[in-house]
């Protein structure tokens, strides 16, 4: 096996497909997961707007979704991709199951970021007459920013590794190349190249997250 133009092009396409599957799924997962995480914290018993029954139901639903192995969730959710995107095969189709799997994960990650926040700061905002919305927008989110960015690096790398399973349903990306060549065709060289590329992508995402978090954190002198 050599790096001919065809192979290089295939790998380039793989990188691009992995990238956009991860990017779009992460975006949608945050659009759903971030508000869910906020609700989990705000409606908690000691939260700023306690609604214990809602908090419990949401918690159980998130745990349920999180306990389904991704490979199984992938097959269960594909009919939904057919309805939403119009196809159940290929890279775009996997964005739906990826989002469904990642959103509850994101909800838990952002929830733990919010819980790190000192309760005294929220109390101070309340003492100034802040409303629930003002506390969410002006305290909870900006004060948790460094931790949210670290959490995002964690979530996005996890979504990237989930996206590698797209190969099983006719999707693309580096994971599909690794599975198709390494597993189905016994060509370990290309499998290893794809794995190394995935490792590099994870490193880049993680490092970017760390740096952004550190740079944005004003608690460091």
């Amino acid at each position: 096996m050599k790096f001919d133009a065809v192979t290089v092009n295939m790998l380039k396409t793989g990188i691009w497909e992995s990238f956009y599957m991860t990017a779009l799924s992460s975006l949608f997962a945050y659009l759903i997961g971030l508000p869910l995480g906020i609700i989990l914290v705000v409606t908690d018993e000691g939260g700023i707007r306690p609604i214990p029954w809602l908090q419990k139901i949401l918690g159980v639903a998130i745990n349920l979704l999180r306990s389904v192995p991704f490979l199984i969730l992938l097959f269960i959710a594909l009919p939904l991709s057919k309805i939403v995107i119009g196809t159940r095969i290929g890279s775009p189709a996997i964005i739906i199951p990826l989002t469904i799997a990642a959103a509850p994960y994101v909800a838990r990650v952002v929830e733990s970021s919010f819980r790190e926040l000192d309760a005294g700061v929220i109390e101070a905002a309340q003492s100034m007459g802040a409303s629930t919305w003002q506390i969410i927008w002006k305290v909870l989110l900006p004060e948790s920013r460094p931790s949210l960015l670290l959490g995002a690096a964690l979530a996005v790398t996890t979504i990237l590794s989930y996206s590698a399973m797209a190969g099983f349903t006719g999707g693309g990306g580096l994971g599909a190349i690794a599975i198709n060549y390494g597993y189905y065709r016994y060509e370990p060289f290309l499998m290893w190249v794809s794995v190394v590329l995935l490792v590099v992508m994870v490193q880049i995402i993680q490092e970017a997250g760390n740096r952004l978090s550190r740079k944005s954190d004003k608690r460091i002198r």
Binding site: G120, V121, Q126, M128, K138, K218, R219
Partner: protein, 342 residues
Amino acid sequence: METPIIRIQNLGKEFKTANGPVRALQNINLEVSAGEIFGIIGLSGAGKSTLVRCINYLEVPTEGDVLFEGKSMAAMSDHERRRTRQSMGMIFQQFNLLAQRNVIRNVCFPLELAGVPKKEARERAMELLKTVGLEDRAQAYPAQLSGGQKQRVAIARALATRPKVILCDEATSALDPNTTKQILELLKDINRKLGVTIIVITHEMAVIEAICDRVAIIDQSRIAEVGAVSEIFLNPRSAIGRKLIMGEAAAQAAGTAVSGESGRSIRIIFDGRESAEPVISNMVLACRAPVNIMYAATRDIQGKAMGQMVVQLPPDREGARRVIEYLESIRVPYEEVNGDEV
């Protein structure tokens, strides 16, 4: 008398815990007049932090009511309560500044919540930073400030919405003695210049003595006594009042004296006038009876030097009677102390 700015009526607070309900506050009745510095003192766990949070309804009382300028907080809607809180600034032991905002944006924060235009808010914030002496640190972040500076920012922030009342929850407990003094001076200054009513929660009698006009002593969820600080210093009526005013050292001294074989001891209080005269040596000469000084210290109460001394009376009845009579004759306030009480 005009209506008090804050009136606490039959207030009670019960917390539900896993081990059943806990009564944090019972039957609290207090009136705070506009413009005064009012202290609330108690040992930890006495309920004072809960009480201050009931005043601005951060904690909703389970009984009773708080009237702010005659208006019932209990009867207010959420929205009205939030509006009212803008008239009550609050500062905390741990400062509770927003760590991701710089100093000026921290001071602007309550104005932002109240919908004040940005430019106006920044001008007001700069003015307040001048008041607290931190205008040169406007762009710094809280992590770059010392504890005392953080509390100054917190005070500027609490003043931003031009409140009528400032609630201080153990505001100096995390600061060293020197910084504590400066912060207390600043609070007193603000009270004098702006006429803001200040309510101080603390476990340290020194804080009360330094700035408060009146004090309420809270013990085991109830108010033990209320009165002018100098009055309570001269004549504490409750056991907890005595303990807090005499301080641990004096209380221990009195305790040792009583547990010793020789019985009675008394606490003598001096104000600035008497401390110039050698009261004790005159007393010993006049009574021809030895007394044992168990404890002596001076306190600075509202700028006035006040001294207190715990002395053991002579063991014989006659000597003790002579000493008491002598104190009566020269009109030095005294009271008998009992080790069981303190």
